[in-house]
Symmetry: C2
Amino acid sequence: MSIVITGGAGFLGGLVTEALLERGGEEELVSLDLAPSAHTSPRVRSVVGDLADQGVLEEAVGPETTAIIHLAAVLSGGSEDDFDLSMHVNVDGTRALLERARTVSAGADAPLRFVATSSLAVFGGEVPSVVPSSWATQPDSTYGALKAVVELLVNEYSRKGFVDGRVCRLPTISVRPGRPNSAASSFASGIIREPLQGVESVCPVPHDTLMWLSAPRTAVTNLLHALDLPPEDLGSWRVMNIPGLTVSVGEMLETLGRVGGDVARSLVRDEPDARITAIVGSWPGAFEVDDLLERGFVRDESFAQMVQEYVEDHLAAP
Amino acid sequence: MSIVITGGAGFLGGLVTEALLERGGEEELVSLDLAPSAHTSPRVRSVVGDLADQGVLEEAVGPETTAIIHLAAVLSGGSEDDFDLSMHVNVDGTRALLERARTVSAGADAPLRFVATSSLAVFGGEVPSVVPSSWATQPDSTYGALKAVVELLVNEYSRKGFVDGRVCRLPTISVRPGRPNSAASSFASGIIREPLQGVESVCPVPHDTLMWLSAPRTAVTNLLHALDLPPEDLGSWRVMNIPGLTVSVGEMLETLGRVGGDVARSLVRDEPDARITAIVGSWPGAFEVDDLLERGFVRDESFAQMVQEYVEDHLAAP
Ligand SMILES: NC(=O)c1ccc[n+]([C@@H]2O[C@H](COP(=O)([O-])OP(=O)(O)OC[C@H]3O[C@@H](n4cnc5c(N)ncnc54)[C@H](O)[C@@H]3O)[C@@H](O)[C@H]2O)c1
Ligand SMILES: NC(=O)c1ccc[n+]([C@@H]2O[C@H](COP(=O)([O-])OP(=O)(O)OC[C@H]3O[C@@H](n4cnc5c(N)ncnc54)[C@H](O)[C@@H]3O)[C@@H](O)[C@H]2O)c1
């Protein structure tokens, strides 16, 4: 038995692998990524290669596979810079993976569970202050458009019984470790992470901008909950707006001041960026999620706690 | 100069070709279809072959092309029966065509106009009595799912400036000539067309079912209006819920009685079909379209007039 994690060498892939290792079990954890998994447990096997490559898929996904957690993707900055690469990975790669899962499922008792991730970037234009599950996806980025395509494909493969899909539209992850990247949402981690390490950071949006946030561990808990849910607890539409916390950028900066002190706070410089403000401003700041909370999904309690989690995981003395 | 009409040998393709011939002009009209166009005008050139075939595309679309009207598709019944064929034609075929248009546009002054059609089948589940343009596509058919993918792709290719796309979500066409087909909406023409020719027909849905209808010629007028609109008259989201008329099935049958008399009316037998009722019941019966009417799109005035159009076009003595 195995669980395949595409993008297993990435940020969320690493955390998902860790969480699956921690909860025990017998399954082999197969990381399918362009790079090998950082985990050294004997339970982890790395298949290194392109998601869209049939040979690579056959090496990773087989009759022993019980579930797929599909995280491999070209993210927002990369997708905007290279449309064709985003098509190749996000659309063709996902399709190849769905087809492989369909083939394997055809010989199994039940279709393979298939957890995929989507993003707030599927939304665009004007959005209401609290977005219902019936709100249209009218993306204005390549990343959002192709994630919306992925949602439709996973849902349709599920309706046909080819896979048992669950698509998680994740909130913006904060505080994400690592370096600033080209994503429009990069500042949502940067304005906390950099100052806490004594490094300057730029805030490109007005302080009243509302963000829909999830700490990394909370996102992973929700991904694994999506994996565990029995099919009868899912609606016929398999795409879920995963719970997050609504936090204004102003509140984020106040929290930074409380946790890191005046010095940290003073390292954030306001430098309005019209492009980022337009993109982030078209992302919903809140969703109707009561239904998902009832079905066992969770959200963070406060931004202070989210910052605390980052400090403990990445900055605390060992 | 040429206008390419994919699906040019099909029902709407034939009418679009006719309308373009009637309005005059210099452009060659290129029909790209598995079958040759029925039109014999010297202005019409048929390219016979598969939309997804690169050689066929190169024969049809070139530097002389000024616009593409993309109608070729596997329709709802065929898509439900053969998922892979629907993927091949509706998704891969559309992508190949978009890529060809992108290549040609790269050498042109402005990106090629690209009119595509979508359908009410992109909607599913619960819908409000009047559907706004911000309502989510949560299809529960292969046809609907893959049309929703096409919408996203055409919109994204437009946002990137690869083509100048316009997607028309057409109402259900009634009265469509020809024979009953496997589409769930087939009855919306059948309950009028068959009885007017003395043939029995079955009504599979309750009489209070609301349909969103367009006569064939009105749909063609709107497709050509979508083609003609300057890009600045389009929103940034290029998908439009094309105006239709809300008519209950009961009103349709009354109109049949008035136009065709008691004999015609008595030829329609109620035979409830749960599957068709569920599908058609999940399609919106009305949309918010004021904005499109202001931008010059039109709709039929009455169902009686729509039936009259069918009688004149197909039953009247020559
Ligand atoms: N982090 C967030 O804020 C966030 C929010 C919403 C959704 N998501 C989604 O969650 C998933 C994981 O995100 P992440 O933050 O861990 O991203 P990441 O960039 O850290 O990881 C993505 C991984 O995919 C791999 N990959 C890229 N192309 C590949 C290919 N052709 N074949 C195989 N592997 C390939 C990369 O090597 C990388 O390890 C993505 O699908 C992302 O879109 C993330
Ligand atoms: N008629 C309606 O009620 C309605 C409603 C909404 C949307 N639409 C859309 O309008 C378009 C035209 O519909 P129609 O009613 O004329 O359908 P139709 O079936 O009469 O015509 C479709 C044409 O596409 C051609 N075709 C199929 N596969 C092909 C391929 N691989 N390569 C080239 N050509 C191929 C067929 O040969 C056919 O001539 C379709 O995209 C349909 O989805 C129709």
